[in-house]
């Protein structure tokens, strides 16, 4: 009975999941790359300051970028070797950033549990260690963890986001299935830091194995909440609505309703950082797509180039489109020379046959976008406003509350890139400039090299 299952109230869409290719593939280590390019900007906030120079020898986990202010995060080397270059590169999310290039040399380190008695640490000490390990939110928002888990007010609930509603991606699913015990330990650490009254894990009900394992290993630390499989169940606000039946007021942050949301991968990183004293220099990445010979869930070192990773996974034919993240909110890449960062949860590749570029047609007022919107906005009316350059009217009917989930663009039969307009319009509003429609960056299916 789908209707009785918990889920967010408004809208949402049912997506083709495409998870079957990787959801039963065990987590394995990706081959250590010969060289990595580690961006210094892998988080929101200021980029880290480089603390190494060309020619320096580094080890795995050596600090190479020091955080610049509270909203920044430390960056560590992901392979042992020598710094051979510093330059500029585009992050997977099209942000320009400095990078440090390291060439592999030496031996891989084996990490052992050092602090099995982490319980002796104080709350602040734990936070300090998380901060030093450079942990950020690994669901994609990349908000520095030591800030996120230090809310200014005491909180009621710790909500763990295991929904993973994006198609193709299965890393959280695998983590929950294989590392339930470790995750429980990570949750205990967070519990000590946050001291919440209740802990829930929201998991979409298509992850049967994960739910089973979590429940088996819960030890009454947390409660597993199966959720309706519906996009965007993993949106922070939607998850809160689904599990706790409260709405986060417009413009507010979750802690204002007494909730902190944590991502599965982040919890695992915290577990490793506290018990192994291992900084965040590798993460789980799902590599998937029909043309991938060995799709799977890989432990990939940060800074590995997509090119190298795909080479290791073997492609049948050359890809025509590479997406970092899930296909709903991920970014398509200009080049495969882009490094994996802390926020990259998946790499999805499409062949030329699989991408069909559809021209935008006029809105036929079918109302599907409105019915799909999990926030309850009128995407087509906002689109109309934006297209006559009336950003203020769009703002009045809720443009700023758009979570940019893309459900509206997905469902639109006229193939209007609604969410793209909303992102541009929000940026314009923020910068207080008002561009006419033809100046709003309408990224159309251009080819690499032709347009910037």
């Amino acid at each position: 009975m789908n209707l009785l299952k918990k889920g967010f109230k408004r809208g949402g869409v049912k997506l083709p999941e495409h998870k079957e290719t990787t959801e039963h593939k065990k987590i394995i280590n990706a081959p250590v790359p010969k060289r990595v390019k580690i961006p210094l900007q892998q988080h929101i906030g200021k980029p880290a300051i480089p603390v190494v120079q060309i020619g320096d020898e580094v080890k795995e986990g050596t600090l190479i970028g020091k955080m610049d202010g509270d909203f920044s995060a430390n960056i560590h080397s992901s392979i042992p070797g020598k710094v051979i270059g510093i330059g500029d590169i585009y992050n997977p999310n099209a942000q320009k950033s400095r990078y440090i290039e390291i060439e592999f040399k030496g031996n891989i380190k084996y990490w052992e549990i050092k602090n099995s008695k982490w319980d002796l640490f104080s709350k602040d000490e734990l936070l300090e260690r998380i901060k030093n390990a450079g942990i950020v939110g690994m669901g994609g928002a990349t908000f520095p963890a030591h800030m996120k888990y230090k809310p200014p007010v005491p909180i009621e609930t710790l909500l763990i986001n295991g929904a993973e509603c994006e198609p193709f991606l299965t890393v959280d699913d695998r983590l929950m299935s294989e590392k339930a015990v470790e995750l429980r330990e990570g949750i205990r650490i967070l519990k000590k830091i946050l001291n919440p009254k209740k802990i829930f894990i929201g998991v979409e009900d298509n992850k049967i194995e994960a739910i089973e394992m979590l429940e088996k290993n819960s030890a009454n630390e947390y409660e597993v909440v199966p959720l309706r499989t519906r996009y965007p169940q993993g949106g922070e606000k939607q998850l809160i609505e689904a599990v706790l039946k409260v709405e986060v007021p417009s413009g507010a942050l979750p802690f204002q309703v007494g909730v902190v949301v944590a991502n599965i991968s982040t919890i695992y990183a915290i577990y490793e950082a506290i018990l192994f004293e291992k900084p965040l220099y590798e993460r789980l990445v799902t590599v998937s797509g029909q043309i991938v010979k060995w799709p799977g869930n890989y432990k990939v070192r940060i800074g590995t180039l997509i090119h190298d990773l795909l080479h290791d996974c073997q492609l049948f034919i050359n890809p025509a489109k590479i997406i970092s993240g899930g296909p709903m909110m991920g970014y398509s890449q200009l080049t495969d020379d882009t490094p994996i960062t802390k926020g990259t949860s998946g790499i999805v590749v499409f062949s030329k046959e699989e991408i069909k570029f559809k021209k935008e047609k006029p809105c036929i007022r079918c109302g599907r976008c409105m019915q799909a919107c999990p926030v309850g906005l009128f995407p087509n009316i906002m689109y109309n406003n934006i297209s006559i350059n009336d950003l203020q009217s769009a703002e009045k009917i809720g443009l700023k509350d758009c979570i940019e989930c893309g459900a509206c663009s997905f469902i639109c039969p006229s193939k209007i890139q609604l969410v793209n307009y909303f992102k541009s319009a929000k940026l314009n509003l923020k910068r207080n400039i008002s561009l006419s429609l033809n100046k709003i960056p309408r990224v159309k299916g251009f080819e690499y090299g032709k347009e910037k």
């Binding site: 709405e247 200009l334 009128f378 509350d401 997905f410 039969p413």
Partner: protein
């Protein structure tokens, strides 16, 4: 994998729903084809001509205007013009001269749709607007060709007096809705069609009808006669060439007339049972699509099935037809009950009211309107709440126009009127936005 590999870049999301506008439109078009086929089968080639003229004019007009508005003529491929064409044809009588569908389609696509900015910008359903346009533009052609005369009568009269118009009164009294309306207002005394009204004088000889629809003649009347009468009748009536009705064979002697009158019991006293017989066969015909009407109206069954298919594919929402049909049914039922309307004396008040509601729901293109016109995405509110408000409004207006207004028909005007209110309904039926207090 070599370098300098060309990669496509576009904004998220990178997957899309498989439905596209053209797919939706063509499937709507296909869902209308069975009903069109039935219309052609039932009315013959003239109906096919009307449909083709209408669809092709729509396509051509769309192409011409698209080019004029600096778009590609290929826009007609999205199928919306074809849907407009077939829907417009469905609302027309089958025997109209072809300039009626042609001008109607031109008006629908050229004026109502393209001049307002093309697909998505029209504020009225083009097919309906085109229909109303031809109704006023070609009053003569539209009325002389009659909407509601069943095929049997139609072919009979049409052949005889090709051009001479049957008067509007005669026709509207032949439509069940018009007839009911006249009956309620006291213009006619009996709630069944008086065949005398419909026929020119020489087709009724001393009160003996010159023709009967086959079903009425065979199954119902003869059942009540004994064998001798049956033989006598069959001696005097014969099936006409189209096999749909019985016609008098020859001039009758006064003796024969007397016998016939006796057999047929055409007298005031017998009216009651005649009306029972009439409604029994009529209600069945209505659903199966044998009751006459415009091209698309005849086949309630096929329209209904087509609509169900669209519902299943989620191209239309069930709320609209359900609320629309439900509100018309409920209102007419209550009205008949309150008026204590008696159509068939043998039935009780409730059953009569039910019959009245049934007739209203199944005739006059209401099913076509409910599944295909009121659900037109472009001209319906965006939210479910708005759609429910709108379809109730349509049902209510249909009821008002049909019962109290000047026309026996109300669906078209009701839909067009409510479409004008859509922007207002949209404003009133905003959903609550996440995290907002009272949408402030």
């Amino acid at each position: 994998m070599e370098k300098k590999n060309k990669l496509f870049v576009d904004p998220s999301p990178h997957i899309h729903h498989y439905d596209s506008v053209s797919k939706i439109m063509w499937i709507v078009f296909i869902s209308l084809l069975p009903a069109a086929a039935w219309g052609v089968f039932y009315f013959g080639l003239p109906a096919l001509n009307v449909i083709l003229a209408s669809v092709f004019t729509c396509l051509i007009t769309e192409a011409v205007f698209s080019v004029w508005r600096k778009n590609s003529w290929k826009l007609i491929g999205d199928g919306s013009a074809a849907v407009t064409g077939i829907l417009l044809a469905f609302t027309l009588p089958p025997y109209v001269p072809l300039y009626v569908p042609i001008t109607g389609s031109f008006f629908a696509i050229g004026i109502v749709k393209q001049l307002f900015g093309g697909i998505g910008f029209n504020i009225m359903n083009p097919a309906l607007a085109g229909r109303v346009f031809v109704m006023f533009a070609w009053v003569g052609a539209m009325t002389s060709t009659a909407f509601f005369i069943p095929q049997a009568d139609q072919s009979f009269y049409y052949k005889d007096n090709e051009k001479s118009a049957i008067t509007l009164e005669a026709i509207s009294s032949a439509t069940p809705l018009g007839m009911l309306k006249n009956y309620i207002s006291g213009k006619i005394s009996s709630p069944i069609p008086d065949y005398k009204d419909m026929t020119s004088d020489d087709s009724v000889i001393d009160g003996i009808p010159a023709s009967f629809p086959k079903s009425l003649f065979e199954s119902e009347i003869l059942d009540n006669q004994d064998k001798n009468n049956q033989t006598a009748l069959l001696n005097l009536y014969q099936l006409d060439s189209s096999q749909t009705e019985y016609q008098l064979k020859k001039d009758l002697s006064s003796n024969e007339k007397e016998t016939l009158k006796q057999i047929l019991n055409i007298s005031k006293k017998e009216k009651s049972s005649a009306s029972l017989l009439y409604y029994k066969s009529y209600t069945k015909d209505l659903f199966l699509g044998k009751a006459g009407g415009s091209i698309g109206e005849v086949s309630v069954l096929f329209i209904f099935l087509g609509g169900l298919w669209l519902l299943k594919r989620r191209y239309i929402y069930w709320h609209i037809p359900a609320v629309f049909i439900g509100s018309v049914a409920a209102l007419t039922f209550l009205y008949a009950l309150s008026k204590n309307l008696i159509l068939v004396p043998e039935y009780g008040a409730v059953k009569n009211a039910f019959l009245f509601a049934y007739l209203h729901v199944l005739s006059g293109g209401l099913i076509l309107g409910a599944f295909y016109m009121a659900t037109d995405m472009i001209t319906t509110p965006l939210t479910l709440k708005g759609q429910i408000i709108m379809s109730f409004g349509i049902g209510f207006l249909t009821f008002i126009i049909r019962i109290f207004g000047g026309y026996p028909e109300g669906v078209m005007f009701a839909i067009l009127l409510m479409e004008l209110l859509v922007p207002f309904i949209d404003k009133m039926s905003k959903p609550k936005i996440y995290g907002w207090k009272n949408n402030e």
